[in-house]
């Protein structure tokens, strides 16, 4: 590939190659403070490529390839090249990661203990994680929490925080000193703007944490909270894991261990201030 960059997010190394300069430059700029893959060897490769040579220049369309691919995925315009790169890295994790049980969850840490937040797109995982990061928590990741089947610890995967639509302005207000990527308009998920995790999140990204609380936030509902039984938590987390089936019995052990040892709550919230106050209150209650 004409252009390429390598980086490590948490324990996972990536090499992103591209037919265009811009997506690689955007990655280099936003991931400037991230380390290189261990021993210089990436775990996964991502390729951003033009399906036909002339499509590099004429109406450039970025196809996402790599070690693991979704056949016939629609390409993105070059203006969304950064998003394509991020999607490509996510895709490698979702389809190819076998070492950890992948939970589609954001995670933050305090005092060595992790709070996991999971839910469907729009539930507020990324927003709450970003806001908690600005309030003294260590961000571990806004997309994937990596559960180690052998230790039960959660490893961080602090990629760029992906803020969507209304969450963009909320995070811009909460993190006025934050480093943001370009505003990506009209993506398949609306407007997206990335926020670079703070220096502490990057410096500590190799440090795992013991999970202490699992939240299932839901944005846009009257404030309500309820305890969730381990069985419901288990079923929801299997749905929130992209590699539960692939991991077989290791995944079963990891997930049963998690739901048996860690309390879970469903949390409905009408606005982020309410959610943050509830998070702090619930966190105190599980200490």
């Amino acid at each position: 590939m004409r252009y390429a960059t390598s980086l490590r997010i948490g324990p996972v190394g990536f090499r992103v190659g591209s037919d265009w300069r811009a997506p690689v430059e955007a990655l280099r700029r936003l991931y400037a403070d991230y380390p290189q893959p261990e021993d210089g060897i990436p775990d996964f490769n991502v390729h951003l490529f033009a399906a036909r040579p002339w499509r590099r220049m004429i109406r450039p369309a970025v196809h996402i390839g790599g070690d693991f691919v979704i056949p016939d995925a629609a390409p993105l315009p070059l203006s969304l090249g950064l998003l394509a790169a991020e999607m490509g890295m996510n895709l490698q994790m979702a389809l190819g990661q076998r070492r950890w049980l992948l939970l589609h969850a954001s995670a933050v840490e305090r005092d060595g203990r992790a709070l996991l937040m999971t839910g469907i797109s729009g539930a507020g995982k990324s927003t709450l994680a970003a806001l908690l990061m600005t309030r003294g928590w260590r961000l571990m990741g806004d997309e994937f929490a990596l559960l180690d089947p052998t230790t039960g610890l959660v490893h961080a995967f602090p990629r760029l925080i992906s803020l969507k639509n209304e969450a963009i302005a909320v995070a811009e207000r909460a993190a006025p000193q934050g480093r943001f990527g370009p505003l990506l308009k009209d993506t398949p998920k609306g407007d997206i703007r990335h926020l670079v995790p703070d220096a502490r999140a990057i410096a500590a990204m190799g440090a795992p944490a013991r999970p202490a609380l699992i939240l299932f936030p839901r944005y846009g509902f009257a404030a309500a909270e309820r305890e969730m039984l381990p069985s419901e938590c288990f079923v929801r987390l299997t749905q929130a894991s992209t590699n539960y089936v692939a991991l077989g019995e290791r995944g079963f052990d990891a997930l049963t261990g998690l739901v048996q040892n860690v309390p879970a709550r469903a949390l409905d919230y009408p606005d982020t201030e309410t959610a943050l106050a509830e998070v702090e209150r619930l966190w105190e209650s599980v200490k």
Partner: protein, 89 residues
């Protein structure tokens, strides 16, 4: 008469959680989320092949069955056979 045999114990990981029980079936790699009386049926079968009446009698000895119904038990066993957790002989 049809007899039923549970999947060998060594192929099952049974984890009771709360109202529901998880069963990981090693032979298939499938996770089953089950409610009572499934764990009880599998335990009552043990490693024996039992007919419907013998199984119902055994469940009756172990549990206080107020409404012992062979037809209901047969349906549960059919479901378990379809799921691969019980074999029809």
């Amino acid at each position: 008469m049809t007899r039923y045999r549970a999947a060998p114990v060594a192929t099952l990981r049974v984890v009771p959680l709360d109202v529901l029980t998880l069963i990981f079936h090693r032979a298939s790699g499938i996770t089953h989320v089950v409610d009572s009386p499934v764990p009880e049926i599998l335990e009552a079968l043990g490693d024996e092949a039992l007919g419907l009446d013998a199984l119902l009698a055994r469940l009756g000895e172990r549990f206080d069955l107020a409404d012992a119904d062979p037809a209901a038990l047969a349906s549960r066993l059919d479901e378990l056979a379809a799921a691969g957790l019980v074999e029809r002989l």
